[in-house]
Structure formats: structure tokens, C-alpha cells
């Protein structure tokens, strides 16, 4: 089998699973307990925090462990909105964000916040100038993803951050879930106040993640209770998952440069071969896109059908993002960049990880071409 759905989730590294098992079976104390057993768990927790902080070049008290990307995005967005609403009630995002950003904005809109959804251009890029012109005296938050999960565009986070240095009241949140390990981004620079990461996208485990919160930024907690995670996220910490996250992040970043090169090479080859096919249009822009995502439309073939046909050949891919595919919604990003409903409905996303191999290119391309041949006879 060839697994090409790494933007949905990745295979956990064996070393990560081993850490998880060892912690879950041996160090199962509650880190908040006073006894020695609790202390051990607490030590593991602070070691994890320090390791994550070191890897990201930030301070350990800027790391909040979460249950993953969705929670991180929700906590950042709602946390800021609720905390700073007295400073203003205008918030800005783009129209191609992941649902875990988009929906919190919708919720806040329903609560009376003014939201600007900045559109992207026909390649899928948001313009820093458009963000700036959306800014009002009431603005308190800008949230922009780093790498788009559907077509892989890399947004100009540095430039947006640069603009935001002139707006001291505005906080900047970056959804870095698809970017980490694939496209370098320095959290400590670019005026990033909040940044979301998820464990299972980097060969860690589902249900783990972090929210980076720059020192000095206040957040209204979503979960209150036992005051864990410096009051930002109550609930007994998932120590095995957190340790596993710290390890996954280390392994991912250690191999990042090498894996990026590898994925870039596979991606270039795939794009090259696929784009030669008359029915295929590559939706991922050639420039400024992440090394692991290729999105294309196969004219006349429904994405969902394509996925299943490829599955029979042992190739696992997805339509749009995994999260929205079950709801049978066509790719929001493709619609936003001006594709029509049909084109969006006929799109496929291949997403790579460092575990993919260059030798897989030919079988992938063959499978895709065969499927197109088979299906075009029956679909029109």
C-alpha cells in the first residue's frame, strides 16, 4: 500500500509509540498528586515542556499542551476574543482557513463580533496589504494559517507579522499545523503571539498538540477547573501523549531538512508526470507551496469515486481535507480561489510525509492514470 493522506494524519513513529507505552504503564501518576508518583509524572511533563520549548526556540512557560489542532485554534481565537473584547470586537481571518479556525470565527460572529474574512487570490495566497486594509481601530485579532491544508499554499506570515508590528493592540495567531516540519517558521520572530501545532500530523499521536502563547498574552480559558497548564487549560494532563508529542517533535525537526528535500523531489516528479495528463489540472501553485501537498482536479471524475478507485489499487489519498470530506462539502479553498463547484468536487489531494519513498512515484502515477482511464468510460 502507498499512503498519501499525511495531511489528514501520519503514521506514528515506533519510538513515539514506545515512549507512550512506557509512560502510560510505568509513570501513570497524576502530575498534580503530591506523592512521589505524581512528582515523576510532573517531571516528565516539565521535561516535555522544556524540550518542546527548546526545539521551537521559545520559553517553556509559553507552551500550553492541548488535545490537538482544533483545541489549539479554538483556545487561541476564542481565548483572545473573550479576553480582549473590551478593547474592540473586530477580528480578521482568511476565507481558506481550516474549519477549526473558521467555525470559531462563525461562533464569535454569532456572539456579536465583527469578522472580516479576507479573500485569497486565484493561486490561494492572502495578500498582506488586504489584511492591513481590513484593519480597524476595533481590531484585536488576526488569524492566518501558515500552510493551507488543501492546496499547500504558504502564506506570507513574515510580511503579515511585519505589518502587525504597527498595530500594538492586535494579536496574531498562526495555525501552523500543516507547516511544522515542512516549512520552517520562527515562532519567536514575526510578531507571532499564538501558534497552533498538532501531534498526529508529525508522526505523534492523535489527541496531542500545543498552543504557543507568547509571554504577556492573556487568554480566557475554554476549560476551567483544576488550573492545569498555568490556568489556560484545566484537566489532568495527558502525560503519555505529551511525552510522545515532545519526542515526535524532536524526531520531526531533526529530520526536517532531509525530509523536506525528499518530499520536494517526490512532489516535483509527481507534478511533472501528472500535469502531462490531459484531464489533470494541478491546483497547487508551483511557487510558494509546501513540499508535501499536491492538489489536482481530474476533469469529469468525482473526487469521492476517485478516492475509492485508488483505494482498490492500494493507494490512499483524499478529497479536500479529511475533516470536511465526510460532510460531502467540496473544497472550500478551491472555491475560494475561483474554481467552480464541479472542479472543486473533482479534486484530489495527495499528501506526503518523510516516510514516503521516491520509488513510489511510478506506481502512484500508474494507478492514477489507470483509474482515470477506467472511470472516464463510465462517468461523463
Amino acid at each position: 500500500m502507498i499512503y498519501l493522506d499525511n495531511s489528514a494524519t501520519t503514521k506514528p513513529y515506533n519510538e513515539v509509540i514506545q515512549s507512550f507505552m512506557k509512560v502510560a504503564t510505568t509513570y501513570y501518576g497524576n502530575p498534580s498528586s503530591l506523592h512521589q508518583f505524581g512528582v515523576q509524572a510532573e517531571n516528565l511533563l516539565s521535561r516535555s515542556r522544556e524540550q518542546v520549548a527548546e526545539l521551537l526556540h521559545v520559553s517553556s512557560n509559553e507552551i500550553i499542551f492541548t488535545s490537538g489542532g482544533t483545541e489549539g485554534n479554538n483556545l487561541a481565537i476564542k481565548g483572545v476574543a473573550m479576553q480582549y473584547k473590551s478593547r474592540g470586537q473586530h477580528i480578521i481571518t482568511t476565507n481558506i482557513e481550516h474549519d477549526s479556525v473558521h467555525e470559531p470565527f462563525k461562533q464569535l460572529e454569532a456572539l456579536g463580533f465583527n469578522v472580516t474574512y479576507v479573500p485569497v487570490d486565484s493561486s490561494g495566497f492572502v495578500s498582506p496589504a488586504a489584511i492591513e486594509s481590513a484593519m480597524t481601530d476595533e481590531t484585536i485579532l488576526v488569524s492566518v494559517m501558515h500552510v493551507n491544508n488543501e492546496i499547500g499554499t504558504i502564506q506570507p506570515i513574515e510580511e503579515i507579522g511585519q505589518i502587525l508590528t504597527n498595530y500594538s493592540k492586535v494579536l496574531f495567531h498562526v495555525d501552523h499545523v500543516q507547516g511544522i516540519g515542512k516549512v520552517p517558521l520562527s515562532l519567536a520572530d514575526h510578531k507571532i503571539d499564538l501558534c497552533t501545532l498538532s501531534g498526529h500530523k508529525i508522526h505523534g499521536l492523535k489527541g496531542t498538540g500545543i498552543l504557543y502563547k507568547r509571554n504577556g498574552v492573556q487568554l480566557h480559558p475554554l476549560l476551567s477547573g483544576g488550573s492545569q497548564e498555568m490556568q489556560h487549560r484545566s484537566g489532568t494532563e495527558n502525560v503519555p501523549g505529551i511525552v510522545a508529542f515532545a519526542k515526535a517533535l524532536r524526531l520531526t525537526l531533526e529530520h526536517a531538512a532531509q525530509n523536506q528535500q525528499k518530499m520536494q523531489k517526490i512532489k516535483a516528479e509527481l507534478v511533472d508526470k501528472l500535469s502531462a495528463h490531459e484531464r489533470i489540472t494541478i491546483n497547487t501553485p508551483a511557487e510558494h507551496s509546501a513540499p508535501h501537498i499536491i492538489n489536482f482536479t481530474a476533469q469529469g471524475i468525482k473526487g469521492e469515486v476517485f478516492v475509492h478507485a485508488l483505494e482498490e489499487k492500494g493507494v490512499f489519498v483524499s478529497t479536500t481535507s479529511a475533516c470536511s470530506s465526510k460532510r460531502k462539502k467540496p473544497s472550500k479553498t478551491l472555491l475560494a480561489i475561483g474554481k467552480n463547484y464541479e472542479e472543486a468536487d473533482q479534486s484530489i489531494r495527495l499528501s506526503l510525509s518523510g516516510l514516503n519513498d521516491y520509488n513510489e512515484v511510478t506506481p502512484i502515477v500508474n494507478a492514477i492514470f489507470t483509474v482515470i482511464e477506467d472511470l472516464k468510460k463510465v462517468m461523463r
Binding site: V39, Q40, N43
Partner: protein, 403 residues
């Protein structure tokens, strides 16, 4: 710009006359140990300078590390070249290229320790300065307030060119003033006292009083972490953990409440003094700051200090809390010290400790009980940990592979 050397200036050591060699050798030893991770470097010294030959190592992490080593007044990235005018001109130009920006000014100041060099100071200043001017676009000369002072040091073996000084940590090399025992509580003050003692060249061994079950594993971890922080200034720091429960319980039973604090401090001091003797050290360092708490009035100090005539050094004695906190933040111990766990000083604090205890009284109270045996027992059961700059902060059993 690739520098090939770091030039280190000693500062206070240079006033040491006959003993100077000893100081310089200790400084070299400390530098070599601190930089042991950088395998290619070579450290050489002369009477008044030390040179680190970088041999291709990245200078940035080395600079960071050097800033924590006591005994260094200042240091500079340097280019070492042969004693030839052309080589000197080229190197100076190379070093100045990164400053070739609108508005930047420079001057050249030559020091000619090697008098045989054919050009004299003024000629060399002129020759180097004009070469830089001719070959850059934006730089201008300003001899009064230059943005960059290009220093050319002609010595018999080579010429060194430096443009920018880093401030060193100052003080004396750790180890040149002997060894002292630091009474380390886990509070904000004592780690700062340890840091300042090290700054004056003292090697430190920490002594901590641990009273399970009244104080927890977490409070012990706190002290381990603090000790770890101090290893930034000296590779190895020992931590002696004294089992103190029995002594504290005996004090609670035996001594009138308002005198328990005084007695506790006396017992701690006696125990520390015995550990000091065992470890061949000649002084004790504490975090006392005059008037801060009941045990730190002169009357209290007088009553407590009675049990030993070992020198007790109190680097913080005249400092305000804000000054102490400022240093604690600088040396990164403040956050650890603020962790909210009971320590042996807080656990049995009487509601109104005597601020002016009397020696006669405390002596009288203590004489009815055989504290000597308990003290000996505590000393015999001391657990000693050796922290090094590279040792992990985690004491839980083998967890390395988890991360």
C-alpha cells in the same frame, strides 16, 4: 565574516602580581572545561591575554558560554594575521565590510607591543585606515566617537584585529579563592548568594536541609534544579542533602516556641560546619540580607553565629529584595525559587519568632537535650549529588529514552 580567534582580557587578575600565574591557569582550566563540547578549539595564554583559536567552530555558542565565566573582563572576536602590512590591511577591510553602511564611522587604533614592526603607530593607523576607506563605499572616519573602533594589536608572534568587545562576567576565576559551603534553601536569596560568591572566585558546594515528610520531593527537586543553574558558572557543583527531620522534631519538642527558629538555624550552622570540615573548605556562604526576616537581625545573627567561628560570608547582607530579585532573574533562578513548596525553614515557623534572641537563653534551652548525637547522625547520612553543567535536571530513573 569568519573570525578565527577570540581574544580574552583578564581584568582584575592583571593586578595579582606574584600570584598571577595561578589565576590565569585556573581561568584557562575553567574555560577549557566550559568549552569542552567544542572539540576543535585551542586555548592558549600569554601574560596578559588569552586566545581561543576557533579552528572553524561556530563562535556564537562559544560567546554565550564565555559570558558566564568569571575572571573575564571582556573579550573580542579577532582575526589573527601575520605581521605584514598587507595582511593587516586586508583583514581590517574584511572585518569592516559588514559595517559598510550609510552613517557608520570608524577609526583605527594601533597598539604596537612588538616594537620592531617597521611602521610606527601613526603610520600603521594611517595605512590601515586609508586602505579601508579606499575600498568601502559608505564608511567615514571619526576619531572622536567612531561607531566601530578597529583595534590593531601588533605582537611579536602575530597581529590581532578586533572590532567589537563583549563584556565578560568580571570577578575572579572560580577556584582561585578556595572553597565554601553554600547554605541553599530553595528560596530566592541563597542561589544569588552562591552566584556572587562564585563571582569572587569561590568554588561552591551546596548544603540543603531536607525534612521528609514535612518537606516534599518537589522541594528537593527545586534545590537540585537551582544547583544545576549554578553549574553555568562552574562545571561541577556538589549538593549535600542533609536529612533534618529528626533534628527539627527534637527542636519542636524541646525548645520554647519563640526560640525554635534561632535553635533551628544554630543546628543548621553546626551541621554545615561539620560538612565543611569533612570537605576541606574554609568558609560558609549564606543568603542572609540584613533585617529581611527574624533570623537576619544583628541580634539573631549574633545568637546563631555563636556555634562556629568559621568565616560566614553573606554577599547579600546589604542588598534590598528588589536588587536580589533582579540578579535572580538574570541568573534564571527566580522562577525555580518561586515554586510554591514548603521547605525546612517555612514548615515549623513559629507565629512570633524572637527578633532579638539572647545567647544565654538559647544556650540554656539547648543544654537539656543531646542534640550532638542527632547532629552527628544527620551528618553521617548526608546524600551527596554531583551536578555538572551537562547533567540533566531530571532525577527520575532512566527516562532519557522517552524523549
Amino acid at each position: 565574516m569568519i573570525y578565527n580567534h577570540i581574544l580574552i582580557r583578564y581584568g582584575e587578575i592583571s593586578t595579582k602580581g606574584q600570584n598571577r600565574k595561578k589565576f590565569v591557569a585556573q581561568l584557562r582550566k575553567n574555560i577549557v572545561t566550559a568549552l569542552s563540547a567544542f572539540q576543535n578549539i585551542h586555548v592558549k595564554y600569554t601574560r596578559d591575554r588569552m586566545y581561543i583559536h576557533l579552528n572553524g567552530e561556530n563562535h556564537e555558542p562559544i560567546i554565550e558560554r564565555l559570558q558566564q565565566i568569571f575572571g573575564i573582563q571582556s573579550f573580542s572576536l579577532a582575526l589573527k594575521v601575520e605581521n605584514e602590512l598587507e595582511a593587516i590591511q586586508e583583514a581590517a577591510l574584511e572585518a569592516m565590510k559588514e559595517f559598510d553602511i550609510e552613517g557608520k564611522t570608524f577609526k583605527v587604533s594601533t597598539r604596537r607591543a612588538y616594537k620592531q614592526f617597521p611602521l610606527d603607530t601613526n603610520e600603521l593607523n594611517y595605512a590601515v585606515g586609508s586602505h579601508v576607506l579606499r575600498n568601502t563605499e559608505h564608511l567615514q572616519v571619526n576619531v572622536k566617537e567612531p561607531s566601530v573602533n578597529v583595534r590593531v594589536e601588533v605582537r611579536s608572534e602575530a597581529t590581532y584585529i578586533t572590532c567589537f568587545d563583549y563584556r565578560g562576567a568580571g570577578g575572579l576565576p572560580v577556584g582561585t579563592s578556595g572553597k565554601a559551603m553554600l547554605m541553599l534553601s530553595g528560596g530566592i536569596d541563597s542561589p544569588v548568594a552562591g552566584y556572587l560568591a562564585m563571582k569572587r572566585g569561590l568554588e561552591i558546594e551546596a548544603v540543603h536541609f531536607y525534612s521528609p515528610p514535612f518537606t516534599s520531593e518537589r522541594s528537593k527537586q527545586k534545590v537540585i534544579d537551582l544547583t544545576q543553574k549554578l553549574t553555568a558558572y562552574h562545571e561541577k557543583v556538589k549538593l549535600h542533602i542533609v536529612p533534618f527531620t529528626a533534628v527539627q522534631q527534637a527542636i519542636q519538642k524541646q525548645i520554647p516556641e519563640n526560640y525554635t527558629m534561632t535553635s533551628t538555624r544554630r543546628m543548621m550552622l553546626r551541621i554545615t560546619d561539620l560538612i565543611r570540615e569533612k570537605n576541606e573548605s574554609l568558609a560558609i556562604v549564606t543568603g542572609d540580607s540584613l533585617g529581611q526576616v527574624a533570623s537576619q537581625t544583628v541580634e539573631s545573627m549574633y545568637a546563631i553565629n555563636e556555634v562556629t567561628n568559621t568565616p560566614i560570608l553573606r554577599p547579600l547582607v546589604t542588598m534590598d529584595k528588589t536588587e536580589i530579585v533582579e540578579i535572580a532573574r538574570k541568573i534564571d533562578t527566580h522562577e525555580i525559587s518561586n515554586r510554591p513548596y514548603e521547605d525546612c525553614c517555612t514548615i515549623f515557623t513559629p507565629s512570633s519568632p524572637k527578633t532579638k534572641p539572647k545567647r544565654e537563653k538559647i544556650n540554656r534551652y539547648e543544654q537539656f537535650y543531646d542534640f550532638e548525637t542527632l547532629i552527628q547522625e544527620a551528618v553521617n547520612n548526608v546524600e551527596t549529588l554531583e551536578m555538572t553543567a551537562s547533567s540533566a535536571t531530571n532525577t527520575a530513573d532512566n527516562v532519557e529514552d522517552l524523549f
